[in-house]
Symmetry: C2
Subunit: 216 residues, 2 copies
């Protein structure tokens, strides 16, 4: 554990800090599509929680002697591209993205966090803990499907598209960040270790799609 | 004080709760116009603070036996109209709106709060306390004017437009809410009391415009 490069930790915290800032942006934007003030406020609260995480991560970056803006820099293009290519057109698409997309990202960051020493491992696990997206999104999406079964097909396609775009952008980022790639290689042990990591993330994704009442 | 109608208190808290929710929306939206990640995060933090206030106000509405969504309802049209007619086109317009517009609103709510019994008076004064808009906006706007004097003229016009739209929408709201109008009339005492209230609000607005380096 002591051999983990600070540069890799800074990379991971920087990626996550920018991910949380864009999660704030996106949830705040999607909140305005809510059909009710209650839904509006619920998504806005999730956005505010993500921004709180962003603050925790930038504080830790400063502690590590890194400039948060510089640490986030390398991940801006990929994360912005992800959000541009997966902009929800409806309230329900926004909820599926909040639940399925953030779930995928959280699983990935949690897996990598286990390769880090404390306090960074604990910090990442803590900020990735569910902020209430799950219950709210599942309830709303299931209710929408119950009242109109056609919704399920469209949202299932949308869920698959989110995964595809997430994989594309993650690969692009990891390919460019040597220290981060090194950290993942060293942590998983070998290619079959990476295979198992991907399998765990995929399986959790399948569970989330089913929880929403969607075919994975 | 004991004679203040609960309906008037619910009106005021409802108006304020919806104002804070829209302040969240708008600051979150304007944050994305920031030229730097630091500015982006700064405005996002202000947005999250407004949402915290929204939560405090809806909790108090529930305590009073009111349904927060119903309490906010009468103010949705006017506040949405205000924001639609004053949508910032630039980062600097957004900052002026955050500082000057929210300052005006805060002064108005604070004046009316003094007519209320506790704990509502204290709650309103607390959520209206500056959430850091002031320093950040003043610094950014002054720096922009320093590097390009032409900016000042356009932003001064923008500031005047904000006041005009705010007055239009406030009058529309008060004209329709009898209990709220009654509360303001009873609190100020008479027409000259209302005149002094408007004078205090106008004078504070003038001070804020000058602080930004703008002609009021």
């Amino acid at each position: 554990m002591a051999t983990v490069e600070t540069r890799a930790v800074v990379d991971l915290l920087g990626a996550l800090a920018y991910a949380e800032l864009t999660a704030f942006d996106r949830l705040a934007e999607d909140a305005r599509m809510a059909p009710t003030l209650t839904g509006h406020a619920a998504l806005a609260r999730m956005a505010a929680a993500e921004l709180g995480h962003h603050g925790r991560l930038t504080e830790r970056l400063v502690e590590l002697g890194a400039d948060p803006v510089a640490a986030m820099g390398p991940f801006v293009a990929a994360l912005d591209a992800f959000h541009t290519s997966t902009r929800p057109r409806t309230w329900l698409e926004g909820l599926v993205k909040a639940y399925v997309g953030d779930g995928l990202a959280a699983d990935f960051y949690r897996e990598v966090a286990t390769f880090l020493p404390e306090p960074d491992r604990g910090l990442i696990l803590e900020v990735m803990a569910d902020t209430g997206h799950a219950d709210f999104a599942v309830r709303e999406v299931r209710a929408a499907i119950a009242s109109n079964q056609k919704v399920a097909g469209r949202l299932a396609l949308w869920g698959r598209r989110l995964v595809g775009e997430a994989i594309t952008q993650s690969q692009a980022v990891i390919a460019e960040r040597d220290d981060l790639a090194q950290l993942i290689m060293a942590g998983t042990g070998d290619l079959s270790g990476i295979g198992r990591l991907i399998e765990r993330i995929t399986s959790a994704h399948t569970d989330r799609m089913r929880a929403l009442g969607l075919n994975p």
